[in-house]
């Protein structure tokens, strides 16, 4: 088994943190952009770049809602995103077991 089997979209420290954080929520729950940013410790611009990549792959979904003058963006791990993280974790275990 080689590192090539690790999903390159998740195998990036920042995106791994994003996906792992969202996976800690129960299925169907969403997290606000600001709380996610606070938990991961990224700048808004940097977080947006990574979220966009994950959303393009359908690993996460985002929704923007407007509450009066305030707009709130929430993000959640999708079913494919959860499956991808599970597969990534299995691949990691396989790699570490072979060391």
């Amino acid at each position: 088994m080689t590192t090539d089997e690790l999903d390159p979209l998740i195998h990036v420290p920042t995106r791994l943190k994003i996906v792992a954080t969202l996976a800690a929520l129960p299925d169907g729950d969403t997290l606000s952009f600001t709380r996610l940013q606070d938990m991961i410790g990224l700048t808004p611009g940097n977080l947006i770049i990574h979220l966009r990549k994950l959303e393009e792959a359908d690993y996460i979904s985002s929704e923007k809602t407007r509450n009066g003058t305030v707009s709130i963006t929430t993000v959640a791990l999708t079913g494919p995103g959860r499956k991808a993280l599970d597969a990534y974790t299995q691949a990691l275990r396989g790699l570490l077991g072979g060391l």
Partner: protein, 214 residues
């Protein structure tokens, strides 16, 4: 789908080996679980000690009563202080943990209504039991039955495993009916303490469980 490796482009440094990835995955998962926990182990354990101290103090004051007269006026502040502090701590911790979280982790208005109705039904049930001459009508454990069952029903939405705590609380309520008026205070204190400590241990185990088994 963009599967281009972009570790360096993302400003994350060069190499990212599997061991580092596994360590980061475990660390991030455990941190997220801790930060997003509406009932963290420390709160559950503190609540367990608090309930044992409050109900244990009342048991100590009533165990010498022959015949049984119930808690004295001196016991009321202990119980009220515990209820107020427990409620404030629970609301405060829950709000902080669930800031920015939407979904089934949060109680829906209908579920809050069910719980409020369950607590409101307690004195009605106790009064009805007393009117029918039921011996355990005014036992402290009787208070636990309806809210325990209501909490189990509300928790069932998140899976049957979540029902355990509510069912255990209701079971303590039923067990207390066989302990007599004095013993029911001890059953309530020890039973609730054991259930809360068990829940604290289960939550702590889930939070610390490794994902990648590094």
């Amino acid at each position: 789908m963009n599967h281009t490796p972009d570790t360096a482009a993302a400003g994350n440094g060069g190499s990212f080996d599997p061991q580092q990835a596994a360590a980061l995955l475990d660390q991030t998962t455990q941190q997220a679980r801790r930060k997003l926990a509406p009932s963290p182990p420390w709160l559950l354990a503190t609540r367990a000690i608090g309930v044992l101290a409050a109900l244990g103090a009342i048991w100590l004051s009533v165990r010498g009563q022959h015949p049984y007269k119930g808690p004295t006026a001196a016991d009321a502040p202990i119980l009220i202080a515990f209820i107020v502090l427990n409620f404030a701590a629970t609301v405060g911790v829950r709000e902080r943990a669930l800031a920015g979280v939407r979904g089934r982790t949060r109680l829906r208005p209908a579920e809050i209504t069910i719980m409020v109705a369950a607590f409101a039904a307690v004195p009605v049930l106790m009064w009805a039991l007393a009117a029918n001459g039921v011996s355990f009508a005014w036992y402290p454990t009787t208070v636990l039955i309806v809210p325990g069952l209501a909490w189990a029903a509300v928790s069932a939405r998140a899976g049957w495993r979540r029902c355990g705590m509510g069912l255990a609380v209701a079971a303590i309520g039923v067990a207390g009916a066989f302990a007599g008026p004095t013993g029911s205070w001890a059953v309530a204190g020890v039973g609730l303490c054991a259930v809360l400590l068990g829940k604290a241990a289960a939550v702590a185990w889930r939070q610390r469980r490794d994902v990648a088994a590094t």
